[in-house]
């Protein structure tokens, strides 16, 4: 018996996880896939009606979907780009500090761990055009005020600001961890060679940190594509559809209009989008890493 256990230990050890994934993940995905070819108003009394590809055709011919699609992509690109630049810059700045690192890290940690729906409510109040903190500050420094979440022109950038506030710290902390892993001797020898500060950063630190930065970007990209809680608790997609990403659009189709079939099709498309982006990114990352290694 013991021998059998030892021999098959890798299956025994992975069994609970595999069973969980088969039961709780595979079934819902197959169910969703099946629903995406049906029309169903979420009533147990009215059977699902098979409609073939109609849901997909409807989605792809709907400008609202394409708006949400590009909004999702743009949101991710812009937010993650800014977060990466800011995060790396701040990390390089703080990388020099040897004292008080605990306090500094803690401060940067907080936006990330604070409950998103609660944070969303706080930002909603901050962004309030008449009574909010944001416009109060703008007024104090004599700048024109903004409608923030209130206008389809500014809602997108207002949400990105929240995302940046919340997630720049993650990139920053990851890079900071990377810096501390590099050790001091690399720099010392470079300094001896007469390299200046800028050269130190661009020629030595950044290349060495590249894998860390790329990993941070990957994790951020996946999460930014799936942003939900913050948008749900601030605008739920409004004004109009102007802050609707694919996740919110799927949610509204399912739980606001009860178009379960269409929502399922949307979710499948959405999943494929995230998957493709993740795979593309991983391929790119592998390529860059190979170049650095050689």
């Amino acid at each position: 018996m013991a021998k059998w256990v030892n021999k098959n230990i890798k299956w025994i050890f992975t069994a609970p996880t595999i069973i969980f994934i088969l039961l709780c993940v595979t079934y819902p995905i197959l169910y969703t896939l099946q629903l995406s070819f049906c029309e169903w108003g979420m009533s147990a009394n009215i059977p699902k009606k098979f409609v073939g590809l109609q849901n997909y055709i409807e989605i792809f011919s709907d400008s609202r979907f394409w708006d949400a699609f590009w909004r999702t992509i743009n949101y991710t690109l812009i937010a993650v780009a800014i977060e990466t630049i800011l995060g790396v810059a701040i990390a390089l700045l703080l990388g020099k500090i040897t004292r008080h690192t605990g306090i500094i890290r803690t401060v940067f940690l907080l936006p990330m761990v604070a409950t998103p729906v609660a944070v969303g409510m706080v930002w909603k109040l901050i962004y309030d055009p008449t009574i909010g903190l944001a416009n109060l500050i703008l007024r104090k420094v004599g700048l024109p005020t903004s409608a923030w979440l209130g206008s389809s022109d500014t809602v997108f950038s207002s949400l990105i600001i929240i995302d940046i506030w919340q997630w720049t710290p993650m990139v920053m902390l990851m890079v900071l961890a990377g810096i501390s892993g590099l050790g001091a001797d690399v720099f010392e020898s470079a300094k001896v060679d007469g390299a200046n500060e800028m050269q130190l950063i661009t020629r030595i630190q950044l290349p060495l940190l590249a894998p860390t930065i790329l990993m941070a970007i990957l994790l951020r990209v996946i999460d930014a594509l799936k942003t939900f809680d913050i948008i749900y608790s601030t605008t739920t997609g409004g004004p109009g559809y102007s802050s609707e990403n694919l996740n919110i659009l799927s949610y509204r189709n399912a739980f606001e209009y009860f178009y379960m079939g269409k929502a399922s099709a949307l979710l499948i498309v959405f999943f494929i989008v995230v998957l493709v982006v993740a795979i593309l990114y991983m391929l790119l990352k592998a390529r860059i890493e190979r170049r650095y290694e050689s």
Binding site: F20, R105, V113, V122, L133, A216, F228, A278
Partner: protein, 278 residues
């Protein structure tokens, strides 16, 4: 000391600017949370009044309301049960899997687990509700814990695998020679040696489960409602109690923030675990 300073005034100046910049960045980071904290001590009228932005008479009425009128104790307990349950279960499932991935190079499994992380959570809500309903388990802690496992399990595997991988095989092999089974050496050697990594992953899984809103929205019932759901108690059909809402936000984020401050080292290394994996 004094001499040195006199010699390099430029450096001191640079250093001051440096610290001012650092403090400014940190302050910007904290503003929304400080704003939340201050609003939680204001009456609704004062929250709405820009003139009372900084100077106001603090009141703890909102907090009293949170615990008496809206009985927040129950959701706090529910959140604790669900977050702890999900974390424990994720460890039970995830640690052996992480070990198998690290030792037997089961990369396919690790890819599948990564894919789970990518699936939009909405996909699960309706099918899961239907399953739980058939099992007569809707609105139970079990259903919420299972749902949160979806986030916690990949997290545990993701973070702990490299820790297991970094432990030299020789240690285990020595144990095998002494007649220890794989299972025994896993419990006696691998887990204690990876304790910091496991602790890190567990804290993070707890925080994510604590913050989760979407699963609770669909799967919880009145008796298992978790904290993120309870925020919406303050938004009624005909009025919004902003003061209570902000106090609730403080109550909800408070524990997570305290845990993060106390266990800062672990939380940071958890969140940056991607870097460890490379």
């Amino acid at each position: 000391m004094k001499n040195k300073r006199r010699i390099k005034p430029k450096k001191i100046c640079m250093k001051t600017i440096f610290w001012i910049v650092v403090v400014c960045i940190m302050f910007v980071n904290l503003v929304p949370l400080l704003w939340m904290l201050s609003a939680s001590f204001k009456t609704i009228v004062d929250i709405m009044n820009p003139k009372k932005m900084f100077v106001f008479t603090p009141t703890i009425k909102n907090y009293i309301e949170v615990f008496t009128k809206y009985s927040f104790l129950k959701p706090i307990i529910n959140s604790l049960i669900v977050s702890t349950g999900a974390t424990v279960l994720a460890c039970l499932f995830g640690l052996p899997a992480a070990y198998a991935i690290a030792r037997y190079k089961q990369n396919k499994l690790s890819l599948i687990i990564l894919a789970v992380r990518i699936i939009p959570a909405i996909t699960f809500l309706v099918p899961w509700y239907i399953i739980f309903s058939k099992l007569k388990m809707t609105g139970t802690y079990t259903s919420l814990i299972m749902a949160n496992l979806l986030v916690s399990l990949p997290l545990i595997v993701w973070i702990v695998t490299p820790y297991f991988g970094s432990i030299p095989k020789e240690l285990e092999e020595a144990a095998f020679i002494d007649g220890s089974s794989v299972f025994n050496s896993f419990i006696r050697i691998m887990i204690p040696l990876s304790a910091p990594g496991i602790f890190t992953a567990a804290i993070l899984s707890f925080i994510y489960a604590w913050n989760n809103f979407l699963f609770a929205l669909i799967l919880s019932s009145s008796s298992t409602k978790t904290l993120p759901m309870a925020v919406f108690n303050f938004i009624s059909y005909t009025s919004v109690n902003w003061g209570g809402l902000m106090a609730a936000a403080v109550v909800i984020t408070g524990p997570v923030i305290i845990v993060s401050i106390a266990l800062q080292k672990y939380v940071v290394s958890g969140l940056t675990a991607g870097a460890v994996k490379g």
